[in-house]
């Protein structure tokens, strides 16, 4: 660093720092500030907005509990389905000759925007079997039409006839219906990344395991999964972040009705429709706090991989 001035590095960093400040740091700080103020940000209310989220006083208008629970549901089911199905398809695709075709077919939904995908699937789920593909399929085989994306706790579906209560309260069939759409869109991503990971596993190693006496399941369980685990982690973290910041799919398909709200949709409605910037900002901060640990984990992992290279 001979002949360099102490401020030289900062000069180079300045553009990035300016951009980050304007578009990231300022909004975060301001959101934090507004989350401690009242609806039109004129009066300090302390943690009242957070209390609102915890107490859930108006569940019919904005059900904070259901939104948080739904986000957890998304996080767990969406991520595990997309990774699981993705891994299954990647493994199967690696064994067929038309691998490229199969993978492209699975990947195509990635190219469709969430909004377009949501519109398509809203049609798929329509109650009228003349329009809704899924109900058409079910009624064709003698079932009854189901209002998939409405709340199935209402006595409007054939599922209700199977028992007094269909599913425990937070787990609603409509949330699952939405998660399936998310999985449909994101599985392609998981397949592409995981099959790239699978390719990197040398076939000699699998043959060595076979000669060592491993059957196909043992090879999968004790060789493929552990060797693939960094790749699986990358895919899973990406999907977890997707699940946490999920907005458009729910917004287009149900608008958050029938208890399908997630934190992002609820915060949008609170802030911009109900115009309570206090609660809206508080929800945004909750979402931020949920994403931070995931980011930390993935950045750590990234650093670890850089070091072990």
């Amino acid at each position: 660093m001979i002949g360099r001035r102490w401020w030289a590095p900062w000069l180079w960093l300045a553009p990035a720092i300016t951009l980050l400040s304007v578009f990231l740091i300022y909004p975060v700080v301001d959101t934090l500030r507004r989350s401690l103020l009242n609806a039109d940000s004129t009066r300090f209310v302390g943690f009242d907005n957070y209390k609102f989220i915890i107490d859930n006083p108006v569940p019919l208008l904005s059900n904070t509990h259901s939104a948080i629970l739904n986000n957890v549901l998304w996080l767990v089911l969406f991520t595990s389905f997309a990774v699981g199905v993705g891994l299954g398809i990647a493994l199967l695709a690696s064994r067929v000759r038309y691998e490229a075709v199969a993978k492209s077919a699975i990947f195509i939904p990635m190219a469709v925007s969430f909004v377009a995908a949501s519109v398509i699937w809203r049609f798929m789920y329509v109650f009228d079997p003349h329009i809704g593909t899924i109900n058409a399929f079910i009624t064709h085989f003698g079932g009854h039409s189901t209002a998939w994306i409405q709340n199935t706790n209402a006595p409007q579906t054939w599922l209700t006839s199977l028992g007094p209560t269909t599913l425990p309260d937070p787990i609603q069939i409509n949330n699952l219906a939405l998660i399936i759409v998310g999985v449909w869109v994101w599985t392609g991503f998981a397949v592409v990344v995981l099959s790239a990971g699978l390719r990197a596993i040398s076939s000699e190693m699998l043959q060595a395991a076979r000669v060592d006496g491993a059957n196909e399941w043992q090879i999968f369980r004790r060789i493929i999964i552990p060797v693939l685990s960094p790749t699986i982690a990358v895919v899973a973290t990406t999907l977890v972040i997707q699940a946490l910041k999920l907005f458009d799919l729910v917004w287009v398909m149900t608008g958050g009705k029938f208890k399908t709200d997630v934190i992002a949709t609820l915060f949008f409605r609170e802030a911009f429709l109900i115009q309570d910037f206090g609660v809206g900002s508080a929800l945004a901060i909750v979402l931020l706090l949920a994403v931070v640990p995931v980011m930390v984990v993935s950045i750590r992992r990234f650093q670890f991989q850089e070091e072990t290279r």
Binding site: E204, M205, Q207, A208, A209, V211, D212, G213, N215, R222
Partner: protein
């Protein structure tokens, strides 16, 4: 421990033949080397035995057991791969123990066998490391260790030394020979390197384009190659070949190669008698061509003049690339030679060590056999 039998085995990939009618019996405790140039099918043969490739036609036996339809995991063989194929997520210990764990061997027994194998291979202090923390030579040892703890019926080696540097290769070669002596199990070893084959094998099978050319003890292959391919493949540097015509009276046969005429020694003449007037291929090993300044005793010398094209110093000896009227050949001569590139030199062909081959069939013409 078991013998291995290939009974008229053929392998085709789609319509491309990889192995044609391979018929080979490998005795229990034998060290057999399958050698041949790349693409000759030697690895395919080994992989069929391991159960990693299907057999198109014919039968493979391990001991008395027909294994054509036995999956790889049940054949009880151990294999060392060219890339070593270690499991990167497991420690060296776990790598070696993996096969035993799958076979539900008791923990103490696994510990005993792994430690013993590690001691044999001198890798005890590496047991806790991951493969990526090891050097190439250490990985190679772990791969061998993973094979020996299994105590399999036979060991299969697929070019296990080709990723090692030259010095380590020589050392490991010796160690593998020792290992074979010590554990006394059938070793089947695939390589493209004839030196490895010559130094380690009890018997060598030379393979070319999926067809066995010759099977025999290393010295047998060196001294009595069955055809031009084996003659050229075994021995380094490779044998020189000259197109020649057999001429002269029965009592004084000569080989006319164009640039020079070589009188055939009396004891070699009988075999060539039927070829009078016909074309043959003369084979002379570089070590049978001597500098006339430093003649060896006990040879049947025939003097030939040639120009030195290239001179390769080996230290203990010199390789001379010689030219004689457009015919090029290699001589392995005494290091005191006065040969200089571009100069002429007199060399002596030791025709007592000559080989001759039928120009059409490429098969060896028996010269030593008394008629």
């Amino acid at each position: 421990m078991a013998s291995v039998t290939f009974d008229h085995v053929t392998k085709r990939f789609d319509e491309t033949p990889a192995i044609t009618d391979l018929d080979l019996e490998i005795a229990d405790r034998e060290f057999l080397v399958l050698v041949g140039p790349s693409g000759c099918g030697k690895s395919t043969a080994l992989r069929m035995l391991a159960g990693l490739e299907t057999v198109t036609r014919g039968k493979i036996y391990i001991g008395d057991r027909l294994v054509n339809d036995v999956p790889a995991k049940d054949r009880d063989l151990a294999m060392v791969f060219q890339s070593y194929a270690l499991y990167p997520h497991m420690s060296v210990y776990d790598n070696m123990a993996f096969g035993l764990k799958l076979r539900k061997v008791k923990k103490e027994e696994i510990r005993r066998r792994v430690t013993e194998a590690a001691r044999t291979l001198d890798i005890e202090e590496l047991l806790k490391r991951k493969p990526r923390q090891l050097s190439g030579g250490q990985r190679q040892r772990v791969a061998v260790g993973r094979a020996i703890v299994r105590e399999p019926r036979a060991f299969l080696f697929d070019e296990p030394l080709s990723n090692l540097d030259a010095k380590l290769r020589v050392q490991t070669r010796a160690e593998l020979s020792k290992l074979h002596e010590r554990i006394g199990t059938t070793f089947i070893y695939v390589t493209h390197d004839q030196t490895e084959a010559m130094t380690m094998a009890d018997r060598i099978a030379v393979l070319r384009d999926g067809i066995i050319q010759q099977v025999g003890r290393p010295q047998e292959l060196y001294e009595h190659p069955d055809n031009i391919f084996v003659a050229g493949f075994i021995g380094s540097p490779a044998m020189n070949f000259f197109d020649a015509t057999v001429r002269g009276e029965p009592e004084s046969l000569q080989l006319d190669t164009g640039p020079f005429h070589l009188p055939i020694p009396r004891e070699k003449a009988a075999g060539l008698l039927p070829y009078r007037g016909k074309k043959v291929v003369l084979g002379v090993r570089p070590e049978s061509i001597h500098d006339s300044d430093f003649p060896r005793s006990g040879v049947i010398p025939v003097q030939v003049q040639a120009a030195v094209d290239v001179l390769e110093l080996m230290g203990n000896e010199v390789f001379l690339h010689l030219l004689s009227d457009g015919v090029s050949f290699l001589a392995r001569v005494d290091s005191r030679t006065k040969a200089k590139p571009g100069r002429k030199i007199q060399v002596l062909f030791d025709l007592g060590e000559m080989h001759a081959f039928d120009a059409d069939t490429q098969q060896a013409i028996p010269l030593d056999k008394p008629f």
